[in-house]
């Protein structure tokens, strides 16, 4: 036992670190939970995400390439980084976007430094939270941390089945996973109100976040 810990134990009136402690307070869901599974999660997520200034649109896997493609072209966003996942393979997203004259590359082919020069990141999500309208992304080899952070625009695709009711459920899911890697809950575009409380959108993260719900 280090000196450091000995000081802490002493402050707490003991000489040894206890090997067992009483259970922490029980989390009473009647006061903590805001959203149960009895509500229409899709509608609630839409409402909350919109309130958090995410641009949410309903789409489908078959029309995904069209929806994303026309959004990107209308905004003149050409260079893209894309996460690698089954959903995108199924929708043939990368080929579809490149066929429309865009320059889309998988994260695994592009890497961190080059991501600083792309216009938009297109990602799937690990899950989404209806309570807060949040996207939850999880880092892995195919899902770089930078994909939803570094480009000016983030486009996220959420499957309806991925929406969970409450932050409580999110923490349960994190616990089940064991090793989290990096998990980020995204609730809106990057913003600041540091300068005299003036709201400015788009500081160090994406200034615009588009969500396609499929």
């Amino acid at each position: 036992m280090t000196d450091f810990l000995r000081t802490i134990s002493k402050s707490l009136g003991r000489t040894l670190v206890p090997t067992q402690v009483p259970s922490p307070p029980t989390i009473d869901e009647s006061i903590t939970r805001l959203v149960g599974s009895n509500v229409d999660l899709e509608t609630l997520f839409l409402t909350q995400a919109t309130a958090a200034k995410l641009h949410v649109e309903r789409s489908s896997i078959s029309t995904l390439v069209d929806s994303i493609g026309s959004l990107l072209i209308s905004r003149n966003l050409k260079k893209l980084v894309v996460t690698r996942c089954d959903l995108f393979e199924q929708a043939q997203l990368l080929q579809g976007l490149n066929n429309r004259g865009l320059d889309a590359k998988y994260w695994t082919d592009l890497g961190l430094d080059a991501t600083y020069d792309v216009d938009a990141g297109v990602t799937d999500v690990w899950c989404a939270v209806a309570e807060t309208g949040s996207l939850v992304v999880r880092a892995s080899a195919s899902h770089g941390r930078a994909t939803s952070l570094v480009p000016d625009v983030h486009i996220a695709i959420v499957e309806k089945s991925q929406i969970i009711p409450d932050l409580i459920d999110l923490m349960h899911r994190c616990k089940e996973l064991g090793t989290l890697g990096g998990v980020t809950i995204i609730t809106g575009p990057s913003k600041t109100a540091d300068i005299e409380m003036n709201l400015v959108i788009g500081v160090h993260g994406p200034g615009e976040v588009f969500v396609f719900l499929v």
Partner: protein, 481 residues
């Protein structure tokens, strides 16, 4: 915006002298600075209203605040156990855990981590604990290229200023002064559009993010059971710290632990609501350890530095232990009539406002900060606002008691209060005192007594007393009952 902005090297910062602290002088000056008062009030009143509105969304916010307080209290009561558990869980994920007894230990540890890893440039996200030990200055002195990346903290850094609020560090600055600062620093024409200023900082800092060797964060919570650090923010700069640099160091106070991931659902529902009136901040990041094998971004090396720096002394007092529950949301600052009048700098500490008036003397010695326990009207707004139910007014009174017991309060003042209490216990003396007070009507000007002869002059130098009424309540009652 021009390209050379990006290449402009960050200036070296002078080390600020320790606060030369005279609360009376500073607070009187601050209270009469109307530009400061307007800037502070504009911000905090809005945040305070937002807090009240957002807490109302919860099924029973009072019960949830009790639960949050209980969770943190439990963690503090068994902090040695949870620290051992945390160390094991972070090491299991390949992270390094360091314990720093003092501010100096923490600084030396982190400087060594940086030089061992051959670090040149550092991006630092906002953290109160690094303000506490003035870490950015130590990096500068040791020759590292360090930049604060939170917009507010960046402005503090380039202006050689100090933060004045736990959450919104430059709440004391108005738009014009920031625009002037940017114009000077970047050599660009004056422009006071907040969008322009933010964009300018964004471009400058983005180049730093891309090249940085080391990222630094604090932590809002650390989960003992699984080792996750939880950082909340709105800008995305803390995410940059955990994304691009190859080395990541998180410096966190030992009071930030919670036992389980589940506890975060309780804490997260309260933190942003209490701080800024948001249901959630834009980004909530959970991370620990170096990046898993196969990942191509995220840190290759992760260090968690847990700092004591006076906290174990607070822990040792069963009475004051609950002050360590604080989650640094700033709700007590926003609610406080004193903070609203004088701003954060007048407290002479990185921790301002009601919670600062409490933890600063506890951490740095009551004798050095004997004015702070008195910087309160004891109205209780801070206690009502606190998401973890720290009874701040009660503890401020206890500190005043301690000052008497430790003879920090002068013998003369103690004598005066002894006489005062005798007067209050005797009906005859009490009535005489009321007559005296009424007589003082005649030295009042414009409704306030602003001057009294010695020895009371010390008191009125920093306070105005409302003019006593023509009639006492007792007299009124006799006539009107």
């Amino acid at each position: 915006m021009t390209a050379q902005l990006i290449d402009k090297p960050s200036r070296s910062l002078p080390v600020l002298p320790a606060a030369d602290f005279d609360f009376d002088k500073v607070s009187v000056a601050a209270a009469s600075n109307s530009r400061l008062k307007a800037a502070v009030n504009n911000g905090v009143v809005r945040q305070d209203r937002g807090r009240v509105a957002k807490l109302a969304e919860l099924p029973d916010s009072d019960a949830l605040r009790s639960l949050a307080g209980d969770i943190k209290q439990h963690t503090l009561d068994y902090l040695d156990y949870y620290l051992v558990q945390l160390k094991a869980s972070v090491e299991l994920r390949g992270g390094h855990v360091h314990f720093a007894k003092t501010a100096d230990d923490a600084t030396q540890l982190i400087l060594k981590i940086a030089s061992d890893a051959n670090v040149k440039s550092i991006i630092k996200s906002k953290s109160m604990v690094s303000e506490e030990i003035e870490l950015a200055h130590s990096f500068e002195k040791a020759g590292f290229d360090v930049v604060e990346t939170d917009l507010g903290e960046f402005i503090v850094q380039i202006d050689h200023d100090k933060p004045s609020h736990l959450v919104t560090p430059i709440i004391h600055k108005d738009l014009a002064s920031i625009a002037e600062l940017f114009s000077k620093y970047f050599g660009t024409p004056y422009n006071d559009d907040p969008n322009f200023l933010t964009k300018q900082a964004r471009v400058y800092l983005r180049a730093k993010f891309r090249q940085a060797d080391m990222g630094m964060t604090g932590g809002n919570f650390i989960v003992a059971q699984t080792g996750e650090i939880c950082v909340v923010e709105n800008e995305g700069n803390a995410r940059q710290s955990v994304t691009s640099p190859r080395v990541l160091v998180s410096l966190i106070g030992i009071e930030k632990l919670v036992p389980r991931l589940d506890d975060l659902s309780v804490m997260l529902k309260l933190l942003a609501r209490s701080a800024t009136g948001q249901a959630m901040t834009v980004y909530t990041s959970l991370f620990t350890g170096p990046r898993p094998q196969g990942d191509t971004d995220g840190p290759e090396e992760f260090h968690l530095v847990l700092m004591d720096n006076g906290r174990s002394e607070i822990l040792a007092s069963e009475e004051y232990r609950e002050t360590l529950r604080c989650i640094r949301c700033g709700a007590c600052l926003n609610a406080c009539p004193i903070y609203r009048s004088i701003g954060g700098h007048a407290y002479g500490s990185v921790y301002p406002g009601p919670i600062g008036a409490l933890v600063t003397p506890l951490m740095q010695g009551l004798a050095h900060f004997s004015d702070l326990p008195k910087a309160s009207s004891l109205c209780g707004a801070c206690y009502d606002a606190c998401p973890v139910k720290i009874n701040i007014p009660k503890h401020l009174i206890s500190l005043r008691r301690d000052m008497v017991n430790q003879n920090i309060t002068g013998r003369f003042e103690q004598g005066v209060y002894r006489l005062w209490s005798r007067m209050l216990l005797s009906p005859g003396l009490y009535r005489t005192n009321l007559k005296l007070q009424k007589a003082m009507r005649f030295i009042a000007k414009k409704g306030f007594i602003r001057w009294t002869p010695p020895p009371a002059s010390g008191w009125t130098k920093v306070r105005d007393i409302p003019q006593p009424a023509k009639q006492t309540f007792g007299e009124w009652w006799k006539k009107n009952r």
